[in-house]
C-alpha cells in the first residue's frame, strides 16, 4: 500500500525539480523539501497530525539538516536528534518508515538545501550520507527506548491492575464474608461427605450450638422422626450430582430437646469441571410460623366449645378412610344425638346447655382409647365417633353401648344432676363402597330410627329400613313441592269452655300426606320448614285455610280458630299485612282469630320484635302464649306481652290425671291461674285426658280446655258434624 505511493512520489520528484523551477537555495528550498518529505513519510506514520501539520512539523527538521550540511566543523549530531524527534514526536515508530525518511534525504536534501562554495558537492553528498547514518542511529535508539519504556509502562500497568483486582477480590470476599456472617438466614456449607465446613452465626443460633461445634457436625446425622418421606431421597440425588436444588420443610432436634422447624433449601456447588464439590444449605427458622399455622389449622378443624374435632375435620377423616387404597379396609361410625336437648336449653338456658355439651364431649372421649377413633362434634347436640378397621359390627355396637352408659351416669351441672339420654345411628362397612355423603345420610336416618323407637338406644343401619326411612334430608328437599301439590292438610281440635262444656273454638293443626311415608305429624316437618324458611308460605297457607274454614262452620258467628305462629313467621316483616289481608279476604273479624306463639319464641324479644304482635292485638286478634311453663319463664315479663291467653303445657296437667291429684301440681296450677287472672289473662289447659282431670281444672278456675277427653283432632267434616252445629 504505502510503498507504492511512496515510490510514485519518488519518481515524480526525481530530477528535474518537482515544480520545474529547479533546485533552490535556503529557506524556500527547504520548505519545498519538507513538502516532499511530508508526502513521502505521512503514509508511513501513525500520527494523527494532518498532512499540512506534518509538513510544518518537518520543516524545522529540514532546516537543521540543511544547516548541518553547511556547518564547520561538520557534526552528524543533528541527524541523530532528527531521527529521535521523528520517533518521539511524529510517531514514526514503524521500521518501514525509515527507508522513506532516508530516501527523500538522499535524493533531495543536497539539492534543496543548496551547496555553498565552501563545501563542494562531493563533500555535501558525503555529509548527507553521514547525516543519514546518524538519523538511522537516532531513529533506532529512539524506537528502542520508546519500546522499552512502553513495555515497562505496560508491565507496571498490568501489575497495578492485577493488584487492584486482587484488592477488589479481597474486598469482595470481605463483603461476602459479611453477608455470610451477618445474615439472619442460617447458612451452612458441607463437603460431599456431609461434613459441615462452615456455618454462620444464624445457623449456629438456630441449632443452639457454637459455630465451632457446628463445624464438627455431619449433616447426614440430622435425621428426625418427622422428616418428610422424600427428604433423604432428594438429598441422595443431590449428593450423587443428579439434582442441583431441593427445598423442603425439615425439623431438627435441638440439644435442649426442642424441635427446630426450618424451610431448608439445599443447593449443589460444582467445581469448574462440573464435579459436585459442596452442598450449600440455607435455612430459615419457621418454628414460630409453623406453630401459628398449626394453631390456625387446629382452630379451623376443632370445635371451640368442646375442643373436639369439628365437622370439617370429621369430614376430612371420613373422606380419607373411605378412599380406596388408603390402608383402611373397614370403618365404623356412631352418629349420636342427645335426646331432648332442646328442652335443656329452653328450660335451663344456653349456658347450662353449653356446659352439658362440654361434659358430653368429655364422656364420649373417655370411651375411646384407640388413636384411630375420632370423636367429633358435628354441630348442635350431634356428635360422631369414627373408627378405623373395627373387628366387626360387634366392636362398633359395643362402643355404642359404652357411649350410652357413659352418658347415663348423671352429670353434675350447676347444682343439678342430669342424666343424658341419646340416640345413636351406627353404620359399619367396608371402605371404598360408600361415598361419605351416603354414609352420613345412612347414619342420620338410623339415628332418627333410634329416636323414633323411644331414644336412649342405638340402631344399626340396614338397607331395608333405610329404604322406608324418612330422613330429614329428603323431607327437606320435598317440602316446597309438597306445598305446591297440596300435600298438606289441616285437622281441628276443639277448645272447650269449662264453665258450660260448650265449644269455644278450634285449634288448627297441620299434617302432611306424604306420597311414600303417609301421614306425617308437624313435629316431623315443621322444624325443617322453620330451618329452610318454607314455614313462611306454609304458615300463610295454614292461616288462609283455617280462617276460610271457620266461615263454613256455624250459621251466624264464625267459630274462633287458633293458629300456631313459628318464631320465623313472628319475625317476618309481612306478618301483620298478610294476616290482615287474609282476614279481610275471608270477611272474618279479627276477634275470630287467635295466634299461638310459644313462650320460648318471645324470650328475650325486645320492643321492636314485639311490635307486630302488639299491632295485631290492637286490631283485636287474640294472642295465646303456647307451651306456657316449659320455658325459662319470666313472670314479670308477662305484663309486657300482648297476650290474652296462657296455654298451660300438658306437663303441668299430667299430675292431675291421678286420683287424688298431686298436691304440688294442684298448688302450681292454682297459682298460675290466679296470677293469669290477676293480669287479665284467660287460661287454657292442654292434654286433658280424664274426667277427674277436667273436674279438677275447672275447679281450679281454668277457662278453657283441650285434650283427648273431649276430642282428638279431626277433619273439618267430622269437626263440623260433631261440634260446629253445637256452637
Amino acid at each position: 500500500m504505502t510503498s507504492k505511493d511512496a515510490s510514485e512520489e519518488h519518481e515524480k520528484h526525481t530530477s528535474p525539480s518537482p515544480d520545474g523551477s529547479g533546485a533552490a537555495d535556503g529557506e524556500d528550498g527547504l520548505r519545498r523539501f519538507a513538502r516532499i518529505w511530508s508526502r513521502t513519510v505521512y503514509p508511513a506514520t501513525q500520527t494523527s497530525l494532518s498532512r499540512a501539520e506534518l509538513e510544518d512539523f518537518l520543516h524545522p527538521l529540514a532546516v537543521r539538516l540543511g544547516e548541518a550540511l553547511q556547518t564547520f566543523p561538520f557534526s552528524p549530531a543533528p541527524g541523530r536528534e532528527v531521527g529521535e524527534v521523528l520517533v518521539n514526536e511524529a510517531h514514526c515508530t514503524s521500521p518501514e518508515a525509515l527507508p522513506h525518511i532516508l530516501g527523500v534525504i538522499e535524493s533531495y536534501l543536497v539539492l534543496y538545501a543548496g551547496t555553498p562554495d565552501s563545501v563542494g558537492v562531493d563533500e555535501a553528498r558525503s555529509r548527507c550520507a553521514r547525516l543519514q547514518h546518524a538519523i538511522a542511529a537516532g531513529f533506532a535508539l529512539a524506537v528502542r527506548e520508546r519500546t522499552l519504556a512502553e513495555q515497562e509502562a505496560l508491565s507496571r500497568a498490568a501489575l497495578a491492575a492485577q493488584t487492584a483486582v486482587e484488592e477488589a477480590l479481597h474486598a469482595s470476599e470481605t463483603r461476602f464474608r459479611a453477608v455470610f456472617k451477618d445474615a439472619t438466614i442460617g447458612i451452612g456449607i458441607a463437603d460431599m461427605n456431609g461434613r459441615l465446613r462452615d456455618a454462620n452465626g444464624a445457623l449456629a443460633r438456630m441449632f443452639g450450638h457454637s459455630e465451632e461445634e457446628m463445624r464438627r457436625r455431619n449433616i447426614n446425622d440430622w435425621v428426625h422422626p418427622d422428616d418428610a418421606p422424600d427428604v433423604w431421597r432428594l438429598h441422595r440425588e443431590l449428593a450423587a450430582g443428579r439434582r442441583d436444588h431441593f427445598r423442603v420443610e425439615k425439623p431438627y432436634q435441638r440439644p435442649d430437646g426442642t424441635v427446630l422447624w426450618t424451610n431448608l433449601t439445599v443447593s449443589l456447588l460444582r467445581d469448574a469441571e462440573g464435579e459436585p464439590r459442596y452442598q450449600l444449605a440455607l435455612m430459615e427458622d419457621i418454628t414460630e410460623r409453623r406453630l401459628l399455622h398449626l394453631r390456625l389449622r387446629y382452630e379451623a378443624t376443632h370445635d371451640e366449645l368442646t375442643g373436639l374435632p369439628n365437622r370439617t375435620l370429621f369430614a376430612e377423616r371420613l373422606d380419607r378412610i373411605l378412599t380406596p387404597g388408603n390402608g383402611v379396609s373397614r370403618f365404623g361410625l356412631c352418629y349420636l344425638d342427645i335426646d331432648g336437648f332442646k328442652t335443656v336449653n329452653d328450660s335451663l338456658g344456653h349456658a347450662v346447655g353449653d356446659q352439658l355439651l362440654v361434659a358430653v364431649g368429655e364422656r364420649l372421649q373417655s370411651c375411646t382409647t384407640a388413636p384411630a377413633h375420632l370423636v367429633a362434634r358435628i354441630g348442635g347436640d350431634e356428635f360422631a365417633v369414627l373408627m378405623s378397621d373395627p373387628q366387626g359390627t360387634e366392636e362398633v355396637t359395643c362402643l355404642a353401648r359404652a357411649l350410652l352408659a357413659a352418658l347415663a351416669t348423671p352429670i353434675s351441672l350447676d347444682g343439678r344432676e342430669l342424666s343424658v339420654r341419646a340416640s345413636i345411628g351406627i353404620v359399619e362397612g367396608a371402605a371404598g363402597e360408600l361415598e361419605p355423603a351416603e354414609v352420613l345420610r345412612s347414619a342420620d336416618i338410623t339415628m332418627y330410627r333410634a329416636k323414633d323407637a323411644g331414644g336412649n338406644r342405638y340402631e344399626l343401619a340396614d338397607p331395608d329400613s333405610e329404604a322406608r326411612a324418612i330422613d330429614r334430608h329428603s323431607l327437606t328437599n320435598r317440602l316446597p313441592a309438597a306445598l305446591e301439590r297440596d300435600e298438606f292438610f289441616l285437622e281441628y281440635q276443639p277448645l272447650i269452655r269449662m264453665s258450660d262444656g260448650q265449644v269455644d273454638g278450634a285449634e288448627a293443626l297441620v299434617r302432611w300426606r306424604h306420597p311414600v311415608h303417609g301421614r306425617l305429624g308437624p313435629d316431623r316437618f315443621i322444624p325443617l320448614a322453620e330451618h329452610t324458611g318454607l314455614i313462611v308460605p306454609l304458615g300463610r297457607w295454614v292461616l288462609e285455610q283455617a280462617v276460610a274454614q271457620t266461615c263454613t262452620w256455624a250459621g251466624g258467628q264464625p267459630l274462633r280458630v287458633n293458629v300456631n305462629l313459628s318464631p320465623r313467621q313472628l319475625h317476618h316483616p309481612d306478618l301483620v299485612p298478610d294476616t290482615i289481608a287474609v282476614l279481610e279476604a275471608a270477611g272474618v273479624a279479627p276477634s275470630s282469630l287467635c295466634l299461638e306463639v310459644t313462650e320460648s319464641a318471645l324470650i328475650g324479644a325486645d320492643e321492636d320484635e314485639l311490635k307486630p304482635l302488639w299491632q295485631l292485638a290492637e286490631i283485636g286478634v287474640d294472642i295465646a302464649l303456647d307451651d306456657f311453663g316449659t320455658g325459662y319463664s319470666n313472670l314479670a315479663n308477662l305484663r309486657k306481652l300482648p297476650a290474652t291467653t296462657l296455654k298451660l303445657d300438658r306437663s303441668f296437667t299430667q299430675g292431675l290425671q291421678r286420683h287424688p291429684a298431686d298436691p304440688v301440681d294442684l298448688t302450681f296450677v292454682e297459682g298460675i291461674v290466679s296470677l293469669a287472672h290477676a293480669l287479665g289473662l284467660a287460661v287454657t289447659v292442654e292434654g286433658v285426658e280424664t274426667e277427674s282431670q277436667a273436674d279438677q281444672l275447672r275447679d281450679l278456675g281454668c277457662d278453657t280446655a283441650q285434650g283427648w277427653y273431649y276430642a282428638r283432632p279431626s277433619s273439618p267434616g267430622e269437626f263440623a258434624r260433631d261440634w260446629a252445629t253445637a256452637g
Binding site: 503514509p43 501513525q46 519500546t147 513495555q151 505496560l154 477488589a168 477480590l169
Partner: protein, 273 residues
Amino acid sequence: MERPAWAPQGIDLNVPSVSRMYDYYLGGSHNFEVDRETARQAIRAWPGLPKIMQANRAFMRRAIRFAVQEGITQFLDIGSGIPTFGNVHEVAHALDRSARVVYVDNDPVAVAHSRAVLEGDQRVAMVSADFRSPQDVLGSPETENLLDLDRPVVLMLVALLHFIEDRDEPRKCVAELARRLAPGSLLVLSHGSAEGGPPRDGGAALQEVYSAASAPLVIRSKAEIAQFFEEFEMVDPGLVALPRWRPDSPTEYEDPVVFSGFAGVGRKAGLAE
C-alpha cells in the same frame, strides 16, 4: 452461585485485548505478544487496518477541535483504551488549557496505565466502568467531580460501539447517556463498517479473529450506525466516511481502505445554556 455484578473481573493477560491491539495498530508497544499476534491476523484479514485506525484518530482530533470551537470543553471519552499519543486531553488542552476530560474504560490494564500517565493532572480523570452500565459511568465520583452535567458535554464513543453486541442494547445505553446530558451536548461517534471501502467479505474473517479477543467485533451498516444518533441532530456533513468528516486537507491522497468505517457528530436538541 453466580458472582454479583459488583465483584471484580479477573485479569487474563493471555486473552488478546482490543485496546492493546489498537495500540499496536497505532505503532505503540503497549502490547504483549498475544495482542500483536492477533493484531497481525486481523491485518491479514483486513489489510490496511492500521490506516483505518489512524484515520479514526485523525477524525477524533478534528471532532475535538470542532467541539472546542463550539465552546464545549468537557469531554467524556468512553472506551478510551491505552493512552498513546494524540489523546483527547492533549488535543483539547492544546486548544483550551481548562478543558476537562473523563476517560472511561473497562479494561483494568488500560485503566491502570491511564492512571499512571494522567497522574497529577487535575483536569483529567480515569474511570473504571463499562459503557453497558451508564449509571456506573455517570455516577462515578470522578465524573461527578470533573464534569458539570448541567452544561454541554462531548460524549465520545470513538471506535467503541463495534465492540458492543446488540444483545447488550447499545442504542438503549447511548439513549440513557444522552438523556443525562445537557442540551447542546455533542455525540462524537465512529464505527467500523464493511460499507464504503474496497469490496470485502463483509468482515467475516476479521470478526473471526476478534472472536478470540477480549471483545467481539460487530460490523454494522451505515443505516444501523445512524440509529445511534436517534437522540441527536446531525452536525454537517452528517454520517460520512472517516476522512470525509470536515477534512482539513484534500482527501484524494487517502488510502481507499480508510473509507470503510463511518464517523459523525450529533448535537442534543434543546436550549443550550
